[in-house]
Every structure is written in C-alpha cells, then in structure tokens.
C-alpha cells in the first residue's frame, strides 16, 4: 500500500479509482511524459484531479451499478414469483419494502403519479445498499484491490459527491419535468415570480428567491447524503489508524451507530425527494 504516514493513508482511502483523459505533454506520477492525449487510469490523486471533467470514477460507478443490480435482481426475482397466496420469505421482505415506499408516498405526496412510489422504492433501497458498503471494514477492499494491482479503490459510492449529485440531478430533472407538465410553463413561471410576495414590483426578488429555493433542493439532497456518509467514512478511516488492540472499542459502537445513519440517510433522501416532487405536482 502506498500509505506510510496517516495523512497519506487517509488521502489514499479517499481517492477514487479514476479512468480519464490526460492531455498530451502531461507529466505522469512516475515521471514519464505523455506524447499524446490518452485515456488511462490515474496513478495518483493529482493525476485524477488533472483529468478534470473528462473522467469517471470506476469504483463509484461500478459499485453503485452493482448495488442497483443487486436491488433490481432481488426484487425482480421476487416480483416474478410474486403470488397472491400466502407470501413467504423473500416476498414478505419485498412487500414490506414496497409498503414502506407506498407509505412514504402516501404520507407526503399529494398528487397522483404512478412513478413516484417505485421511484421512492428504488431510491431507498439503492441508497441504503450503497450506504451499507460503508460497514465493510475500510481496508478489506482496498487491500484486495491492491493485491490485484489496482492502486485506488473506494467502495462506498455515496461518499463520492459525483454519485449523490448524480442521483440528485436525476431527481431535479424529474422535479423540473413535472413542474412544467403539471403547472404548464406559464404556471411554473408565475409560481416562481409571484411567490412569496404577490406584487409585480417584487417579481425579480421573488424570482431570485424561488430559483434559489428550487436549486437548493437537489443540492441539499446530494450534500446531506454525501456529507453524512463522507464524515462516517472518514471516521472509520481515522479509527483504522489507531493501534490494532484499541480499534474495536471505537469501531464497534461507530459501526452500530452507522447502521442507523445509513438507513436514516437513505430514508431522508427518499422522503425529501418525494416531498420535492410533491411540491412540483401542486398546482395552485
């Protein structure tokens, strides 16, 4: 492992496995200079940063897609075998989750939209599974990856702002879509312009306020999830820096506490997404 000092150890654990484009003439971490523009794995945190926007975090995408597939696979399996007779095992669990999602939607969503409940289910289970990866001891996967020749590996997708902002972006697009669809472009504009102060002279002020309020929705969704998970992850890493014999005294309580956090964060993200979508459906 390329981690000799605590700082390096932490930095190493917080660096994603990045695949991206490096420009021609770039001096790589090992000192070689690129002859031409090249798509390659980043060999250092600096390289990952220098790749700019044209890069992907392979670990984030891989694990989030894997968790998504796990969720969909499990639920599709149960859905295929769903029976109206007495349910057993997996179907019970799946139905509890479905009812949970329906419950969230029933409580906070006041429109009629068949997409919202499955959306809530997807968000909750997917984010929960991604968060749950936080409970895997911080060194297991990176050491394994290192043994297979992969330098950086960060398995919890929700500690990567790209993941949380990506999901929030999807939610935001839905918010905009339904705002336009339900209220109409005129109605949406009117709502942005004449709230909270219903007077023509205050339209610019309202616009600034409401647009900010609108944009803050996905940002708050993404940052809340990211912040909580990132902080949790950092604390796990810090605990891992302690002497071996004392680690468990902190690691065990923190992990138990984190079981609550990962569930709660998934729940909060889901509920708030539904709340925002509900607001988008409200036509005054």
């Amino acid at each position: 492992m390329a981690a000799d000092t605590p700082v390096e150890y932490i930095k190493h654990h917080l660096t994603n496995l990045t695949y991206g484009k490096l420009p021609a003439g770039y001096e790589r971490a090992d000192g070689t200079v690129l002859q031409e523009t090249q798509w390659t794995m980043a060999h250092s945190a600096q390289e990952a940063t220098d790749m700019g926007f044209m890069a992907v975090h392979v670990d984030t995408l891989g694990w989030s897609v894997a968790m998504g597939l796990l969720f969909l696979g499990l639920f599709r399996f149960a859905a295929k075998r769903a029976t109206e007779e007495t349910p057993t095992g997996l179907q019970n669990f799946v139905e509890i989750m479905v009812e949970f999602a329906q419950g969230i939607v029933r409580d906070v969503f006041h429109g009629r939209n068949p997409i919202i409940a499955p959306l809530a289910l997807t968000l909750f289970i997917w984010i929960f599974l991604m968060n749950a990866l936080d409970l895997v001891p911080v060194d297991y996967i990176p050491v394994l990856a290192h043994a297979m020749g992969v330098e950086y590996f960060k398995i919890v997708p929700t500690t990567d702002p790209n993941a949380t902002f990506g999901i929030a972006l999807g939610v935001f697009i839905l918010i905009l879509y339904y705002s336009f669809k339900v209220k109409g472009p005129g109605g949406f504009m009117k709502e942005l312009s004449f709230k909270p102060f219903n007077h023509w002279s205050l339209v610019p002020f309202n616009l600034v306020l409401e647009l900010l309020g609108l944009i803050i929705q996905p940002v708050s969704l993404a940052l809340r999830l990211f912040g909580n998970m990132y902080a949790g992850e950092v604390i796990f890493i810090l605990i891992a820096l302690l002497p071996l014999w004392v680690q468990w005294t902190l690691h065990v309580p923190w992990a138990i506490f984190h079981i609550l956090v990962i569930t709660l964060q998934a729940f909060i993200f889901t509920t708030l997404a539904v709340v925002y979508l509900s607001a988008a459906h409200e036509d005054h």
Binding site: M54, V56, P87, P118, D160, F165
Partner: protein
C-alpha cells in the same frame, strides 16, 4: 473529490434503475398484493355473509320449531277433545243402552207379573171352583159357569 463524468453516469444509472423498477418490479408485486388484499376482503365478506346466513337459518329454525310446537299442541288438544267426545258418546250410549235394558227388564217383569197374575187368577178360580164343588158337593158345570168364574177371576 473531483466532479467529473461520474455525475452523468450516475444520473443515467439512476434513470435506468427507476425505469426498470417502474416497469418490471413494481407492477407484479403490487398486483399480487392487491389481489391478495381483494381475496382477503372477499373472504372476510364471505365469512360475514355466512354468519348472517347462519343467523337467519337459526331464526328460521327457531320459527319452524315454534310452529311445529304449536301444531303439535293443537293436534294434542284436538285429540284430547276427540277422545273426550268419544268417551262422552260412549257414556251416552252406555247410558241409553242401560236405560233400554232396564226398560226391557221392566217390561219383561211387568209381563211376567201379568202372566203370573193371570195364572194365579186361573188357579184361584180353579181353587174356588174346587172349593165351591166341595162345599156344594155338586159338580159345577165348569162350562156353564165359566163366564161367572172368569168374571170372578178378573175381579181378583
């Protein structure tokens, strides 16, 4: 902590997952749940109906029972009346018969008395004649005095 294409990738993954869930995961599960819900509701209402039916049947049975009791009571009553009637008629008959028998016996007795009286009378007449014969020592011509004798006998 670099923002890069991962953001877009994640959004696409999100969209695909939601689409898949909406299309292939959600409907079968909720359909099964709703079907079961309906089944349970049907079962419960059937049970309700059955208990209502039972109640009605019990009511009907009680009514039938009541009716049967009344009918049987009426029958017993009728039978009792009829029996009393029969007994009464029998008594009546017996009484009549008895009276008839008594009457008959009386008539017979009367007849016998008359006969006995006649016989006695004849005998008394014969005795009187014999007595008279003895007294007169003469024979009385029975034929000649028979009219007188008969008159005497009738007076006895």
């Amino acid at each position: 902590m670099n923002i890069n294409l991962t953001l877009i990738g994640q959004s696409i993954a999100f969209a695909i997952f939601v689409w898949f869930c909406v299309k292939y995961v959600w409907p079968p599960i909720t359909a099964a749940m709703e079907a079961r819900q309906k089944k349970i509701a049907d079962g419960l209402s059937a049970a309700d109906r059955a208990s209502l039916d039972l109640e009605l049947a019990q009511e009907k049975a009680a009514k039938e029972m009541q009716k049967a009791k009344e009918e049987s009571a009426a029958l017993v009553d009728q039978a009792n009346k009829r029996a009393a009637q029969i007994v009464e008629a029998a008594k009546d008959d017996a009484r009549k018969e008895g009276a008839k028998l008594i009457e008959q016996a009386r008539a017979e007795i009367q007849q016998e008395r008359v006969q006995a009286r006649d016989a006695l009378r004849a005998e008394v007449a014969a005795l009187a004649i014999a007595g008279a014969e003895k007294i007169l020592e003469t024979s009385v011509d029975a034929k000649a005095h028979s009219e007188m004798l008969e008159k005497l006998a009738a007076e006895l």
